[in-house]
Amino acid sequence: MPRRLEGRSAGSALLAAPVLWVGVFFLALLLAMPHAGPVFHWAFPAVEPPVYDRASFLALFLSQAGIVAAASLAASVTGIGLAIFVTRPAGRDFRALVEALATVGQTFPPAAVLALAVPAFGFGARPTIAALYLYGLLPIIGNTVAGLEAVPAAVRDAAAGMGMSARQVLWRIELPLAAPVILAGVRVSVTIGIGTATIGSTVGALTLGTPIFDGLAVDKMPLVLQGAVLVALFAIVTDMAFARLEAWLRPPGAAR
């Protein structure tokens, strides 16, 4: 197999990357938040306790990360798989159907999906994962189909004409060339998922949204603030990490 450009992920380049510093900042904030009581007490003297204390922020983050990862992984596997299937000769007829279903999945408000999922899955993380999964399919299917179709016809023709099997054309030519576009779809899906997962707290999933909803319920602004800042940073760090992965995955000769 052709080799990747050497020296791309050198340690020095990683140290200079903003994603590393924003990530460190996020982690520090996650761990420091319980000790920020005096600050919040000073800003909001009437609120007691000044910092969310029913679970550690680290535990909330890890739980939310697990939920998003499970949903995104499942959505990526199904989404990429379906997109490959509908761009093959055998699956071409199903393309309109699959794209329509994915669009329906996206137009459903996540809160509605959650409400519908609770009777099926009960309370907790599982209905949240189901909602995020449905919600995250569309960008992945859409981008994978677009990425595969952007492979120039001449390249595909040459690959087949050289004697590559359909499987070899897919794995050696189409997927590597489409990888950055596919990854961009996963990136959108995951970033939306992080934001949307917070709503899962309303059906009992533990996420950084839990302090937000608890705070809203009892009118304690500091709790809302703590949850919101951490969720936003979580999404930003993840998005930056994906941007880096995309640049690294981009085939050297692909369109920029």
Binding site: A154, D157, A158, M162, G163, S165, G253, A254
Partner: protein
């Protein structure tokens, strides 16, 4: 030898190729020529089964093309197309070694073959082997595309308008190189084009297609002198026919051995049109003629060109 025996192909009831029979001798340079939509590309693509034929038989060296699995068949046939179709994420060396890798050659053998082919196309191996396609000019991409088609040393090379997308000067150089490589390797080449000048320059045989049917199959000179139908006459073009005739005849046919003339000699295997061009530029009515070794063996005059 390639043999097409009453081969037909239709799409949605419309015949694209109809009862086409053709015999291409081993080692010949056969050009499939015709206007767009005449079925020439389809014909080419039926030979390596990128397009399945509906009826008739296609045989290579007596063996039916359907006897092998399609992938195995294609690995034995070189294939070069317009705009090169190079894999943009692979280096030049990986592109050229596509078929050898599919065939499981050793790393050393692939490397040696890449070096050999880059040298054949006068691309410095050390500079070019690790470049990516987007770092090459159009002409270089096309050379690598043809090198890739030759990589596993196939006896047969299929080329679908390989020089269709490059500028005229580069195309001229590429045609010259292809002619040289055909002469040096003795491969059988099937070449699709709609450009009559390109066909006259390269072909040993030309098959003119008209709406999926064979209009004429002949050597370039015969095509010009004895067109089989009005279609062929029109396609070859009545304008400039004299110049086209000069372009398919060689100086060797008209040389006056033993005589001599002033100036730089013209080689024996130059075309008469090249000789005429030289005479015009030098304001001379005669040129000395040299053999392959460069020794002057005779002369050619303006009158000889029109004899």
């Amino acid at each position: 030898m390639i043999e097409l025996d009453r081969v037909s192909k239709s799409y949605g009831g419309r015949a694209v190729v109809a009862e086409l029979s053709l015999r291409v001798a081993a080692g010949s340079f056969c050009v499939l020529l015709g206007p767009s939509g005449c079925g020439k590309s389809t014909t080419l693509r039926m030979i390596n089964r990128l397009v399945p034929h509906d009826a008739g038989a296609i045989r290579i060296n007596g063996e039916d093309v359907t006897a092998l699995p399609a992938d195995a068949l294609r690995r034995r046939i070189g294939y070069a197309i317009q705009s090169s179709g190079l894999f943009p994420h692979w280096r030049v060396e990986d592109n050229i070694a596509t078929v050898p890798r599919l065939l499981g050659w050793s790393r050393q053998r692939m490397q040696d073959r890449v070096t050999e082919l880059l040298e054949l196309f006068r691309l410095d191996p050390e500079t070019y082997r690790s470049k990516y396609p987007h770092e090459l000019s159009g002409g270089e991409q096309q050379r690598v595309g043809v090198a890739r088609a030759l990589a596993a040393d196939p006896d047969l090379l299929l080329m679908d308008e390989p020089f269709g997308a490059v500028d005229p000067i580069t195309r001229d150089a590429l045609q010259g190189e292809l002619a040289r490589i055909h002469k040096a390797t003795g491969k059988t080449i099937l070449f699709v084009t709609h450009d009559i000048e390109e066909a006259l320059r390269l072909a040993t045989d030309i098959a003119i297609l008209d709406r999926g049917r064979l209009a004429q199959f002949a050597a370039p000179l015969e095509l010009l002198e004895q067109p089989a139908s009005d279609f062929v006459r029109d396609f070859v073009g009545t304008q400039g026919i004299g110049l086209k005739l000069l372009s398919v005849r060689k100086v060797a046919e008209r040389v006056r051995r033993g005589e001599t003339a002033e100036g730089e000699p013209v080689p024996l295997d130059a075309t008469l049109s090249e000789a005429l061009s030289l005479m015009t530029r030098r304001h001379a009515v005669a040129l000395p003629v040299a053999d392959a070794a460069g020794a002057v063996i005779g002369a050619i005059t303006l009158a000889d060109l029109v004899r």
